[in-house]
């Protein structure tokens, strides 16, 4: 046979989608690269026969002895060893051997890879990381892969596998790593130089190492990665094959829509390709990559693409409640999508407060969103972002989702809403806000009594209403004062607020619109006679807790300041 082959030899481990694998084999053969194919014994005989027939005419192509290769089993290494030996023996012109799978796709012209490797003679490209420094393993086994026994299959006999590991841990059973090996791990797809590969295959201690590695877990990620450290002259610890793993340690598939992403890879191959990705196969196996204008490799883009997906699966989008994300209890990402302000009592003291705030803060400020009659959206809108209805019945059907929907729908625009005990209050909603770090809650305690006072009726006639509203406010304040509060909470008693309204207002504004903090204060309603109104309430047997420090006679001009705990 002719010795005139390219100096790059390819090993392909194939088990499914053999037609695609055959196309890739032809791609390498056309470029003069010798190819050795390992056909998994589990592959259907008819398909395997078809593949052999389709490739029979290629002079530099061989099939190596077939093994049944289960995931992570020793047979994968054995198949690789035999294929590599065959390749080195039959094709003396080969300087580098690249190990690929049937689902790998070359991303650049073969000639480019051949030239690139020719300029790096004797260099081994294999990801080989000392096991102590490995951070990516899924399932937590890294060091232990080398020091325990693994008689059971991880995929099919998971329970037995876990028990066996547990038992060995409990009994302290450990194996010695044969000297002088230093356990290393890495991607199973490598590209080794002839000298290194020959040295590994003809190592005098090979039998002993093999006996050991047969019992190592996932030896295809460890055998060559460890032995290469004994024999290589120069290692570049990186794979030339792009593989992205998901959170469960399975490789992400590449589809047609990844074409532009893959063109910007700095790798020579990619795996795994979805077998029906016609566009990818048509493009990369044609001469198009060679003719296309060169693009700057941006491996970072590929990395970001997949790590974003991983993050979305793991953490999700904060504040989103939907059909496939419905967090239960506390999650670190937060309960709502963005910070929002809940203002209690301000609208009661300052007529036209929402309009005033919306002017100084340049925001759309809502009225009482939980008003029992209807949702008081900013500007009196009947529907709001995301087609939220102003119907009180719809809102009260799920008050919490009404809030989270509103915050999600208006991402990027801070929401301010009025709230108070006269609203359609809901204990679960209040607790939700109190434990939401995005909630900024400012309360003027007792201000809810002012609208009642303004009605001009006698406190005795309003007794029941006063009592009910006070009870509701107490419940809310109880939530806001609980040690579990995560919201930013400010509470003033009415007397405190009236003492220094500007300072209090500035504090609230500093959060909502820092630049508006110096704005002139909004007009305040007159409170003449309010003290007497409260005194009357007290005298008919209804002590007003949060209003206890409000001066009940009009005599002292300034209310007494209550010491706060």
């Amino acid at each position: 046979m002719s010795a005139q082959t390219a100096p790059l030899g390819i090993i392909m481990l194939c088990h499914t989608a053999l037609e695609r694998a055959a196309a890739v084999a032809r791609f390498w053969a056309d470029a003069g690269c010798p190819v050795v194919i390992h056909l998994d014994r589990a592959a259907p005989e008819a398909e395997a026969e078809a593949m052999r027939a389709a490739l029979a005419h290629l002079p530099h192509l061989r099939f190596s002895p077939r093994h049944r290769c289960a995931w992570g089993s020793w047979s994968l290494v054995q198949a690789t060893q035999e294929a590599a030996a065959l390749l080195l023996r039959d094709f003396p012109g080969v300087g580098h051997v690249c190990l690929t799978s049937g689902a790998c796709l070359p991303l650049r012209p073969a000639a480019e890879m051949i030239d690139w490797l020719a300029a790096r003679e004797g260099v081994d490209f294999i990801e080989s990381v000392a096991v102590e420094d490995v951070v990516w393993t899924v399932g937590g086994l890294s060091q232990e892969r080398f020091t325990r026994w693994f008689p059971f299959d991880w995929r099919r006999q998971r329970w037995l596998f876990d028990r066996a590991v547990d038992l060995q841990r409990r009994l302290g059973l450990q194996r010695e790593v044969p000297r002088p090996l230093q356990p290393h791990l890495g991607s199973q797809w490598w590209c080794l130089s002839r000298t290194t590969l020959e040295a590994i295959l003809s190592d005098p201690k090979r039998k002993r190492y093999e006996r050991y590695f047969r019992q190592v877990w996932i030896p295809d990620e460890a055998y060559f990665q460890t032995l290469v450290r004994q024999h290589a002259r120069r290692i570049e610890s990186r794979a030339l094959t792009l593989v992205k793993f998901d959170g469960n340690g399975r490789p992400h598939l590449f589809y047609d829509d990844h074409l532009q992403l893959l063109r910007r890879s700095d790798c020579f191959l990619a795996r795994k390709i979805w077998p029906q990705a016609d566009r990818l196969y048509d493009y990369f196996l044609s001469d198009q990559p060679a003719r296309a204008a060169p693009v700057n490799p941006q491996p970072g883009r590929i990395h970001r693409h997949f790590s974003r997906a991983e993050r979305q699966r793991r953490e999700g989008r904060a504040g989103l409640y939907m059909q496939s994300r419905f967090p239960h209890g506390h999650v670190p990402q937060g309960k709502t999508a963005a910070p929002y302000s809940v203002l209690c009592g301000f609208a009661e003291l300052h007529p036209g407060f929402d309009r005033w705030l919306s002017d100084v803060a340049r925001l759309r400020v809502h009225g009482h969103l939980y008003d029992p009659r209807r949702v008081m959206f900013s500007g009196g809108a009947r529907v709001y972002n995301g087609a939220l209805s102003d119907s009180a019945a719809l809102r009260d059907y799920n008050p919490r989702m009404f809030l989270t929907n509103l915050i999600w729908n208006t991402r990027g625009e801070r929401q301010c809403l009025q709230y108070g005990p006269a609203d359609a209050v809901d204990g679960a909603l209040e607790w939700f806000m109190a434990t939401d770090p995005n909630a900024h809650i400012a309360v003027i305690a007792g201000a809810w009594a002012v609208p009642l006072f303004q009605r001009g009726a006698d406190a005795g006639d309003l007794r029941d209403e006063l009592a009910m509203l006070q009870k509701r406010e107490q419940a809310f304040l109880w939530a806001l004062r609980s040690p579990h509060v995560r919201a930013r909470v400010r509470i003033w008693s009415l007397a405190e607020y009236l003492d220094t309204p500007q300072a209090a207002m500035a504090e609230v504004l500093a959060e909502i619109a820092p630049r508006a903090a110096a704005a002139p204060p909004p007009p305040m309603i007159a409170l003449d006679g309010f003290g007497a109104f409260l005194a009357r309430a007290r005298d008919i047997g209804l002590p007003l807790v949060e209003l206890a420090d409000y001066p009940h006679t009009e005599a002292p001009a300034r209310p007494v300041r209550k010491a706060r705990e």
């Binding site: 959170g247 992400h252 598939l253 699966r313 999700g316 989008r317 087609a387």
Partner: protein
């Protein structure tokens, strides 16, 4: 002991419910009469669609084309007494197997029993898709990756079911103003939807999410939200003979199949069933269905439409969102790519 006992009892009762459901499906299968049986054309690995319908002749051509293009291999359909030529049309399609029944839609669990039987008989080992003729599945990357790419990925990830919520679509202007023509993409007319007014709660019995909202709740159920129709659906399942739908495609047993959502903050991949209900074809239908009372809740849903949809009614509002593509739905948070990148 108490707690575990409750769990054990709940499991027993769910198991009984599932078996009753399966027995019912077998009994109700007596109502089905074979019209065109091409099930021998079903190949291993094919994705199968299961549908019940009544008088949908106008919609069928686009429905079949849509799902053929996505990669559905065979359609198994139950014609519940159509008299508009739907049966003849379907009988002539090479990839459709058709059964006919005059039985009551309501008393067959709104078609669930018939389809449970067909799925039991033909669906085991396949990915099965249960959709109505006015439901169109949209999933992440559906413009570049056919359905087998999705099911292949679900297989790899060890998932047995895939959630796709109903999204009610509607036109701008009165329903009657833009008549639907045979073969037309219904979303050329019904291009609008409500993007952010869903109510969701967790149902501990079936461990599914109960989702309500959208335009139907906003317009027809604003005064009695509890009666608004459920939008949560799990239409795509890798079927075995032990599975059964309980009520429409809203809930499945065993209940593990309903857990198409993440409870710890992450996002699972999910899709959306675009619902082309609100077209001019609904107007005469709403009257008829309200009278027949064969639909869920004694047809009260249709009664609401019949009341609310006089010729000039407009479902559109200032905050309606115009449909662009799946990416838009993803960004709006109505569906998710999860970790399918």
């Amino acid at each position: 002991m108490g707690r575990q006992d409750v769990g054990f009892r709940a499991r027993l009762s769910l198991r009984a419910e599932r078996q009753i459901k399966l027995m019912r499906a077998l009994r109700k299968s007596l109502e089905l009469r074979r019209v065109a049986d091409r099930t021998r054309a079903i190949r291993p690995g094919m994705i199968l669609a299961f549908t019940t319908l009544r008088n949908e002749r106008l919609r069928l051509p686009y429905f079949l084309r849509y799902y053929r293009d996505l990669g559905v291999g065979h359609f198994l359909m139950v014609d519940n007494g159509s008299d508009d030529g739907s049966g003849e049309y379907l009988g002539a399609q090479e990839d459709v197997s058709l059964w006919r029944t005059g039985g009551s839609y309501r008393r067959s669990g709104f078609g669930v029993d018939w389809l449970n039987h067909l799925q039991w008989r033909y669906g085991a080992g396949h990915w099965t898709l249960v959709v109505d003729p006015d439901e169109f599945l949209v999933y992440p990357f559906c413009d570049t990756r056919p359905l087998p790419a999705l099911t292949g990925w679900l297989d790899e990830a060890g998932r047995r079911s895939f959630g796709a919520m109903l999204l009610d679509m509607y036109p701008k202007g009165p329903l009657g103003a833009q008549p639907y023509a045979e073969g037309q993409d219904p979303f050329e007319i019904a291009r609008w939807f409500d993007a952010g007014n869903l109510c969701i709660s967790h149902n501990p019995r079936y461990r599914n999410l109960w989702i309500q909202g959208g335009v139907r709740m906003r317009r027809f159920f604003a005064d009695r939200p509890g009666a608004a129709p459920a939008l949560n659906k799990t239409p795509l399942v890798r079927w075995t003979r032990k599975y059964a739908y309980v009520s429409s495609t809203h809930a499945l047993l065993p209940r593990g199949l309903n857990q198409v959502h993440d409870r710890s903050g992450g996002e699972q991949a999910s899709g959306v069933l675009l619902h082309a209900k609100f077209l001019d074809t609904l107007l005469p239908r709403a009257q008829e269905e309200a009278r027949r009372a064969e639909h869920y809740g004694g047809g009260r849903e249709y009664a609401a439409y019949a009341e609310g949809l006089d010729g000039a009614a407009d479902l559109w509002c200032d905050w309606s969102t115009e449909y662009i593509n799946w990416r838009q739905l993803e960004i709006l948070g109505l569906m998710s790519k999860g970790d399918w990148a």
